[in-house]
């Protein structure tokens, strides 16, 4: 990619340029806003800056991720992201250098990128999405094509929007950005691997690691490893009764499990982790699934299913204590196929099925159903789900008119459960009691 070589990269201006022998403070100069992050920053920064830079960039990335999820039009997304950028990570053009300290801004962009690299491979996907989301449409009338290996334009291959023959992809000029993205992705990939190896050396004084862990925690958002909202121990027998507080995705899994005495792999995973999140212990979870899979004999259950249930609880294999899946993961990962019941009803149900499900769950007003279907159609799955919550349970707290969008099935559960404890369920005129 000779194109890349021509882009101005931040140059290190260092003490080599004056031959006095005295060591000067290292400074980097950024001639343009575009940074491919080839050269690491060499500035000194305070620990406070380190943390705030990283958290600001993280906020931006999270917003970009959320925007992709909401699937807004390109114009809308761009406008929104620009607002977020202006607040957390402004990057002004050279022509506005008088009004803004553009070098400071670019330094922050540069350094924060490299801090997040330290968080390692987990971060990679978010940056990739950022790259994807930011690809603009170019004039489609040009007819020049690049012949490249298909591995170079995986995103175009994935969407089946490029012609491929004999392992070569024919990329129109307007899609050349895909090539730049690939080049950046490869460089980043390699750099992340290097960083991973160098991390112990970077943090010899042990100062950086605690902050990184803190940032990492922020990144993954609120975890629902165990809910404290419910008094006492939940047992397998309680689950059936608690389903009235479940979001539709989980209620659907529960019903299908009762109906078929079986769930396929990803359905089991989604539901089991959720149950773990509401406070079911591993022993009770095993009992719950054993009872539910009533058609199986004990031997088959132990051999084929018990392992996975314990695995979810971090008792097998890598011993990772898996967190309950959030809405983002349920909506975007592991798309359901034939015979699968997992996923998000607002995303993965046909319109007919969704409206029937809503009706059965207590939304009987046609206009209200139509409103939720509209949200789902516009890809606002979380808002649709939140609206469903409001219509069936009241709006969270009485003071606020609208509640914040629900982003986690366990959050749905906890809010619903809490409301019922406060006794506000039933006060609301639109509320319908739900029977599992």
């Amino acid at each position: 990619m000779s194109l890349l070589e021509q882009i101005n990269l931040p140059k290190g201006i260092n003490s080599r340029e004056n031959n006095t022998g005295e060591v000067k403070l290292h400074r980097q100069y950024y001639p343009s806003r575009l940074n491919l992050y080839t050269i690491p920053p060499i500035n000194e920064i305070t620990i406070e800056e380190f943390e705030s830079f990283a958290l600001d960039r993280l906020t931006v990335l999270k917003e970009i991720e959320a925007t992709i999820l909401r699937n807004k039009s390109e114009g809308e997304s761009k406008e929104y992201i620009n607002q977020v950028l202006a607040q957390y990570l402004p990057l002004h053009t050279n022509s506005s250098s008088e009004a803004y300290s553009i070098q400071q801004e670019r330094k922050k962009d540069h350094i924060s990128h490299f801090i997040l690299r330290l968080l390692n491979n987990k971060e990679k996907h978010e940056i990739k999405d950022q790259l994807r989301a930011s690809s603009p449409h170019v004039n489609p009338e040009t007819e020049v094509f690049f012949e490249v290996d298909f591995e170079k334009v995986l995103d175009l291959v994935r969407r089946r929007v490029v012609y491929i023959k004999g392992g070569k992809a024919y990329v129109p000029m307007r899609d050349q950005l895909a090539l730049v993205i690939d080049e950046f992705r490869n460089r980043l990939d390699k750099a992340l691997k290097d960083t991973c190896r160098a991390l112990p050396e970077i943090d010899q004084e042990g100062q950086v690691m605690p902050i990184l862990n803190q940032i990492d925690h922020q990144k993954s958002g609120q975890g629902y490893s165990c809910s404290k909202k419910i008094e006492g121990q939940i047992t397998a027998d309680d689950v059936d009764q608690l389903t009235e507080h479940f979001p539709l995705c989980m209620r659907h899994l529960h019903n299908k499990l009762q109906e078929n005495k079986h769930l396929k792999h990803y359905g089991r995973m989604q539901y089991n982790l959720f149950l773990k999140g509401i406070g079911l212990s591993v022993e009770e979870a095993l009992r719950f699934w054993r009872t539910a899979f009533s058609k199986l004999n004990d031997d088959k259950f132990q051999k084929s299913y018990a392992y996975n249930i314990r695995h979810n609880y971090g008792m097998e294999g890598k011993r990772t204590d898996y967190a309950p899946l959030n809405c983002m993961k349920i909506i975007t990962n592991n798309q359901p196929g034939e015979g699968d019941h997992h996923g998000c009803p607002f995303r993965h149900f046909s319109e007919d099925n969704l409206s029937r499900t809503l009706y059965n769950a207590g939304v009987t007003d046609k206009a209200q159903i139509r409103q939720i279907l509209e949200y789902a159609k516009g890809h606002h799955y979380n808002i649709a789900c939140t609206r469903f919550f409001e219509l069936t349970r009241g709006s969270g707290s009485k003071e606020q008119g609208m509640m914040a969008a629900i982003n986690h099935p366990n959050e749905f559960f906890e809010k619903s459960y809490q409301l019922s404890q406060e006794g506000s369920l039933g006060n609301n005129a639109t509320t319908n009691t739900i029977t599992g």
Binding site: F150, E151, L154, D155, V157, R158, R159, R160, V161, Y163, I164, K165, G166, G167, K168, C196, H252, K303, Y307, N334, Q335, P336, G337, E338, G339, D340, H341, H342, G343, P345, H348, F349, S350, D352, N353, L354
Partner: protein, 464 residues
Amino acid sequence: MSNENSESVSPMEIDGETQQQSANDENINSVIIDLSDNIKRFDDELTMNEKMRIFYQRFFPYKPYYHWLNYETSPTKAFLNREFSFTLDDMYVRFQSFKDAEELKNELLRSVPSKIDIGAVYTMRPKDKKFAPPNSFKPIMKELVIDIDITDYDDVRQCCSKADICLKCWQFITVAIKIIDKALRDDFGFKHLLWVYSGRRGVHCWICDSRARKLDNDGRKAIISYLAMIKGGAQKEKKVFLPRSLHPSLERAYKIVDHYFTVLALEYQDIMDTPERWTKVLKCIPEEDIRKALNEEWKKTPSRSSTLKWDDLLQALQNVVDKNTKEVVAKKRADALETIKREIQFQYIYPRLDENVSAHINHLLKSPFCIHPLTGKVCVPISPDNFENFDPTKVPTVSSIICEMSQWNQKHPNASVQPGERKMNDYEKTSLKPYVKYFEDFVQEILKDVWIRKRAAQQRTMEF
């Protein structure tokens, strides 16, 4: 890859009769001879475990198998660092690895796994995993694999359900192989495609080109997403949405889909025979008035065959076009309705892939030449020339080949080996022969390719 091995590994010795046969084997051999008159008696008197032992002892094609996974004749990391996983009686053992075919054979005879899975090639030997520094044990290569399972067609087939198959629904698999095989070869340029019957209700494809083996997860996901069309779970009736102009790859697939649709969907599976089933088809049509009209009409004549109902449906779509007198509008409508027709055809015929199996480099997949634990069938490779004629109900089983072997031995009591003469392999006495032969040829092609590329690389360095 090939030059990286520093291990000295003793040359393979797998063909010769060097293995000591235990007393147990002798015992089994005499049983084999006693029982040679019919398969049924084998099934009654030998346990599955005993039959498996005989299979691993006498039939498993170690030599080509080793060459396949090693990708060269001299030992390489491709085999040394390859993960094998075994299903034993009561547990599943992961991260096994072997230095050569002989070590593999010894282990198979020792533990007699009911199933062998193949995983990725790792940065180090999988069996040394526990000694690896954190984060250093990583998968680096694996064949791209594709898994097609007939149970994913349960909503469109009615001849069988669950794990059962018959020649009628096997046609779905035949179509799937044809479409996917073509796309992998023509579009992606892959050459070394090994299709393997999974022993019961589906097929696997192992794409062995070095370029495919090097793909990372993103590459695998991209290819599988390029190939996959049927999207949506049990709660979504319409699972195919086509763009207005079809991608060349789908255009090619459509020819195959269209060709099979009449016989497979309309005749064999009779996809519109009951109100419940024709409603499923109608749900793919966005126009409510067409849906209603057809539904009313068919309620009056429910016994009309699916073929006739399909004609009704096409006619109804055509009527909508004809109503538009303006040519431009009519053309647009015609295109839209053609798309609906194709979407239905795709939904019923196009391959359904288990994407998760393909997407991850470290995903395990059942090895070729396993015995399916429940059917006893050998997971045999399927030759591309034979896609159409492959009959899963006639695949040799572990019992049938043992029986064939002992019958052959009885007919040729004096088949002792003269000095200098090759001893006949046991598989050659059975119906397993053509499958092993095909596998050997397949592996030879790979080795030839590797050799040519190595030579070219050597010549390049010599020129400089």
